[in-house]
């Protein structure tokens, strides 16, 4: 039973470590693929709107975009 408990704890621990390691190497599409000459989508927005049913909220256009992504886009032009 101790071996099983230790195995589960180790699996979860390694999984969390993998999560942090993988997340640190990920970039949003607008960061990875945008250049000074091309912009990939508008950061933090999507085509259907924040509510995903296409219907905007009354305060949608006065507040910050829903789920706005953080971080800067890559500036150097790579193509």
């Amino acid at each position: 039973m101790k071996a099983f408990a230790a195995a589960v704890i180790a699996a979860v621990t390694l999984g969390v470590l993998a999560m942090f390691a993988l997340t640190s190497s990920q970039k949003f599409a607008y960061q990875a693929f945008a250049t000074s000459g091309a912009r990939v989508s508008e950061p933090g927005t999507n085509l259907v709107g924040p509510r995903w049913n296409g219907a905007p909220r009354p305060d949608e256009f006065e507040s910050e975009p829903h789920g706005k992504a953080e971080g800067e886009g890559s500036s150097p032009k790579r193509s």
Binding site: M1, K2, A3, F4, A6, A7, V8, A10, A11, L14, G15, V16, L17, A18, M19, L22, A29, A32, F33, A34, T35, G37, A38, V40, R78, S79
Partner: protein, 341 residues
């Protein structure tokens, strides 16, 4: 008379031009297939078939760094979609349900393989030490989560979503995806540990052939000779090692998409990963069955690590002799666990 001849000639020329002129106008190509201008506009025009002879996909030109976005047409994508949405669910259902049905039938006809009691019953022998059990259970718990979350990729939207609704299914599928990607790492580590720990006891030999010829104790009532692992367990070991390696490689290719291959390769990775995964699950179902419900006393090996000596003598007699010869004073037989290795 002269006027009549002139009129007739005029009508003849007019009729000839009226019939032939449209034909010349519509088809400038001569009888030899070359038009008078020396060009074959229809024969040499660029079409889809011509482009696919040059490459397996048609690409355009883009200005963003993501070169994959230049892909316009990839016919293999239709074949992949046909497999993913057509063949794969049927293959998965047939293989996994087929294995469950086979195990159910085997249990009905063979029943649970009972422990045979002898004078050695009650004495314990250490079969797997703590680190071996730790490695086994870390790999096993990850495998169960990976299997369920993997099957959700195939069957979730078909079976689960109608039951729990799209919102709950969306949340569940998201967490299943996280668990699949992150628990793959301790699983890969566990497979590597198991490979190093047990490979020396899993090299096939002549004893395995005799074990297979005798039906491995599953068919009939006898117990053929076996060392630490019998031929069936060796089969499970090499299945886990081989399938584990294949799942790891194809899985890594999907965790880091397009790092080493293009869209064709990505689709191939998914096909290999899904098919092997299904066969892997079916194989492990048989392993779980024989290690728990199918055989009395077998679970103790990975539960407490110690098995009944009478059980060990019946199923792994060569291993027991080897252990007893190694520990001549018999410390394991007197209740003082010693490492099996």
């Amino acid at each position: 008379m002269r006027r009549a001849t002139t009129l007739f000639s005029t009508l003849l020329v007019a009729a000839t031009l009226g019939v032939a002129a449209p034909a010349f106008a519509q088809s400038p190509i001569q009888a030899d297939g070359v038009n008078p201008m020396g060009a074959r506009p229809t024969a040499d025009s660029v079409n889809e078939e011509f482009l696919f002879k040059q490459s397996d996909k048609i690409q355009g030109r883009i200005s963003i760094p993501d070169r994959k976005a230049a892909n316009l047409i990839q016919p293999q994508g239709r074949e992949y979609q046909n497999f993913r949405e057509g063949w794969l669910p049927w293959i998965g259902a047939l293989v996994i349900l087929g294995m469950l049905a086979a195990l159910g039938l085997f249990f009905l006809f063979r029943g649970r393989i009972k422990m045979e009691h002898s004078q050695e019953s009650g004495k314990k022998i250490l079969r797997f030490n703590a680190f071996e059990r730790f490695t086994h259970w870390m790999t096993a718990t990850c495998f169960i989560i990976l299997s369920l979350s993997g099957l959700n990729y195939i069957f979730g939207k078909r079976l689960l979503m109608p039951l729990i609704g799209p919102d709950a299914f969306g949340a569940l599928a998201q967490w299943a995806k996280y668990s699949h990607v992150y628990l793959a790492w301790p699983f890969m580590l566990g497979v590597a540990f198991m490979f190093v720990l047990w490979i020396k006891d899993n090299i096939p030999n002549k004893v395995d052939i005799a074990w297979l010829k005798a039906g491995g104790g599953l068919i009939g009532r006898g117990h053929p000779h076996a060392a630490r692992f019998n031929a069936g367990q060796k089969g499970v070991f090499w299945m886990v090692a081989g399938f584990g390696a294949a799942m790891s490689v194809t899985g890594l290719m999907m965790i880091f998409p397009f790092a080493l291959t293009d869209i064709n390769g990505m689709q191939l990775m998914q096909v290999v990963h899904s098919v092997i995964g299904i066969v892997f699950i079916a194989g492990i179902l048989a392993h779980i069955y024989i290690g728990s419900l199918g055989m009395e006393g077998a679970y103790d090996a990975m539960g407490s690590g110690k098995v009944d000596l009478a059980w060990a003598r019946a199923h792994h007699d060569l291993w027991v002799e080897q252990e007893q010869a190694r520990t001549a004073s018999g410390p394991q037989l007197k209740g003082h666990p010693a490492p099996a290795e």
